[in-house]
Symmetry: C2
Subunit: 435 residues, 2 copies
């Protein structure tokens, strides 16, 4: 880890800068895949599956028999763990239900805000070394609670044409309506455009490699909504003299094992604690199966020594981490000052992996500083809000003249006229009533 | 208007298709502007202002004196109208405040969801023929209520270097912190990247021409968040035998005057009403100052005759209009069935222009069918949600084993270890306590 000893504020934004790697340079390649799927549909998807996943597929959908086989292949122990995690995730996301808003803004005018589910959602789950069945839960459970009617999931098949059983089991358990054996940019294209097999969806969610990220960006420019932009995963851990060094080390390493580009930042106001954490990392690292990945990630990561708790809070808001672990005995003052973070873990017992799997919070979170503007996934992400308004004739009288004036001042006379015809109608009928 | 007489459902999606015009083709031009602003900052912005707005600017910010001058230039009558509109918009958006969520998901684990303002927001207000001071209110008021600390607004100057007084007045009144005389793609670039004069913002809001839309798309791929994608403005009016034809005609025309590409759709289950509305359009149209624009828009617009109220509801969900006016005496059954619309206007007295200016709802809404996946602007758009979680040692015991199993099954042993070190620590201390 690179050590920064009380860096001046002028250097913070440099310390907080993420590698500039962008998915934009892949747009040309990925655009080709999207156009091919637009033209040739399922045939194009099958060709890409053959080429990239080495899988020869006839049917792209996972069959009922395959779901049964997956169920048999997952151990009871793992199933129970998945059920426990699902219960906690359900409880927290159920509690996020939106209460409709209804206000009489002025005499005769009632404005409402209602929430409705997004009808068709598409979930993407990457394949590769780590079969992310936990991400299946994080995407499918809120979609089901929101009331989305079509919940489609794409995940790349293995060369034998099957999908990871835990992914299939979790998808079926969480309420996914259809599972497809499709990966990469072709999966995003299929869900964005629709093919004979795959329905077109309104919004696409989920992580993926840089081709998937680029494809999501491109389809978001024209066809469908996406959850959020994505970069490598990140954690910042705040430690002080009350922290338990082997916990802090384990949390930093659990982020570092994700990938060589993972971002790991230790922030402390206690130099002795920094040394103890570094020693604990050295002790834990050799025992990790993914130590080479973790070592590479740590080589690029940072330990920042600061003077005070307010300084640590301010630095955190500059960095805007995806995950923030406040691994100190007292955490309330820091937690109440932090505005820029995806998800926050309070105190020594709240490790990031608790939230990654089973505490109930969502683990799909804004990376790369996007926590300045984006929320993590929540029930809202699967719903949309719609406003409604009702004016009575009294409402027309309340704002009619103001609308006429404003519309005229904007040069929009037909807008003005829509109010004028109503005001005239009311006047005329009042006169008639008085006759 | 093109008339569709009971079209079969198989034709609905064709009828509902918007013109395919896309901002993507402008990306190359706009990318040049963005890169120039990245390199040369304010100098580039000044050059583009000279070239596109014919304005020679020294200072890009609107000064306190200019704000005073704008205040003097706006009539008292218009000021009062702006104040009334602002009061209603404030009331409705204040009522949207988020109530924090706090749940004990299982023994020893508390999960929270909090809402925090986005710190720095950038608002764009187009110039041109219609000075949209109403849009200033729709963007700046929720930003102020959300608690955004920097509310920056860019709007193109006139050739004499001044900005429209009503726009400046509304911005100052609604709580904008800094107003800049910058338009077009250079305004979006300046807010996304920051220059010596203009602060870098976290999220950019507001309408604009196709260059502005393309610039927002491009910066959203790498730098900042944006409110939503944008297309031409749209209205669908549902009319039945109880509707008042001159009201319906006025509402259709108020949309048609926006631009030649405006989308106007009349849906009815009553053929006689369609004829009466068309006659009322012919009567009102000649009196409109923007009749040429409205005529061109009407040439591309559609009247659709359907059999029943459920059919009208289903057609509406297929079209997913930005604005939906249910101009019928009974509207509850249709309103409760509509899920895909930006903002809904209930009954004969609720004209779109009420919501465009002063009822209290926001007029920045999803166009082009985006109402299937996007909400209109609301208080949420200016805030982000953050989750927090606290585990006690009992919480570690509740989910520790499940997290270990799931992490191991995903091949992420350092994730598992972060839980294991805590479980071991608890066991060890219990043993010690028992000694």
């Amino acid at each position: 880890m690179k050590f920064y000893d009380n860096p001046p504020r002028s250097e913070w934004s440099d310390i907080c800068r993420r590698p500039a790697k962008s998915a934009v340079e892949l747009h040309a390649v990925v655009r080709g895949v999207i156009e091919d799927v637009r033209k040739r549909g399922d045939d194009a998807v099958r060709d890409y599956e053959q080429r990239f996943d080495k899988a020869a597929l006839s049917d792209l959908a996972v069959s009922a028999d395959e779901i049964k086989a997956a169920e048999a292949a997952v151990s009871d122990e793992l199933k129970e763990a998945i059920h426990l995690a699902a219960a906690n995730i359900s409880r927290f996301h159920e509690a996020q239900r939106f209460q409709p808003v209804r206000v009489e803004t002025c005499r005769g005018i009632v404005c409402e805000q209602r929430s409705v589910p997004i009808e068709k959602v598409g979930l993407y789950i990457p394949g590769g070394t780590a079969p992310l069945f936990s991400t299946v839960l994080m995407l499918a459970i809120p979609a089901r609670i929101a009331g989305c009617s079509d919940i489609v999931l794409c995940t790349p098949p293995r060369p034998d044409g099957s999908c990871n059983p835990a992914v299939v089991y979790a998808a079926h358990y969480a309420g996914v309506t259809r599972i497809y054996k499709i990966g990469g940019a072709q999966a995003i294209a299929a869900m964005a455009l629709g093919t004979a097999s795959v329905p077109r969806v309104d919004k696409i969610f989920g992580p993926g490699n840089q081709y998937v990220v680029a494809a999501k960006q491109l389809v978001s420019l024209e066809d469908v909504a996406i959850d959020m932009p994505a970069g490598p995963s990140e954690v910042e851990v705040i430690a002080d003299s009350t922290s338990i060094p082997q916990f802090v080390a384990a949390d930093l390493l659990s982020q570092a094992e994700h990938g060589v580009d993972s971002q790991v930042v230790l922030v402390s106001d206690d130099r002795a604690m920094v040394d103890r954490v570094l020693a604990a990392i050295d002790e834990q690292l050799p025992r990790l199966p993914r130590r080479e990945i973790a070592e590479a990630a740590l080589a690029n990561s940072k330990a920042v020594l600061l003077q005070s708790r307010p300084e640590m809070t301010a630095f955190t808001n500059t960095y805007a981490p995806e995950h923030l672990v406040i691994a100190t005995e007292q955490y309330d003052d820091i937690a109440s000052g932090v505005t820029h973070a995806g998800s926050v873990f309070l105190g020594p017992w709240s490790c990031e992996s608790a939230g990654d799997y089973a505490s109930g919070t969502n683990h799909t979170l804004p990376t790369k500083g996007y926590a300045r503007a984006y929320s993590g996934l929540c029930l809202d992400s699967f719903m949309r809000k719609m406003t409604l308004q009702h004016l009575s004739p009294a409402g027309v009288e309340s704002i009619g003249r103001a609308v006429e004036l404003m519309a005229a001042a904007e040069g929009l006379d037909a807008h003005k006229n829509a109010m004028t015809v109503r005001m005239d109608y009311i006047k005329q009928h009042k006169t008639e009533d008085n006759k």
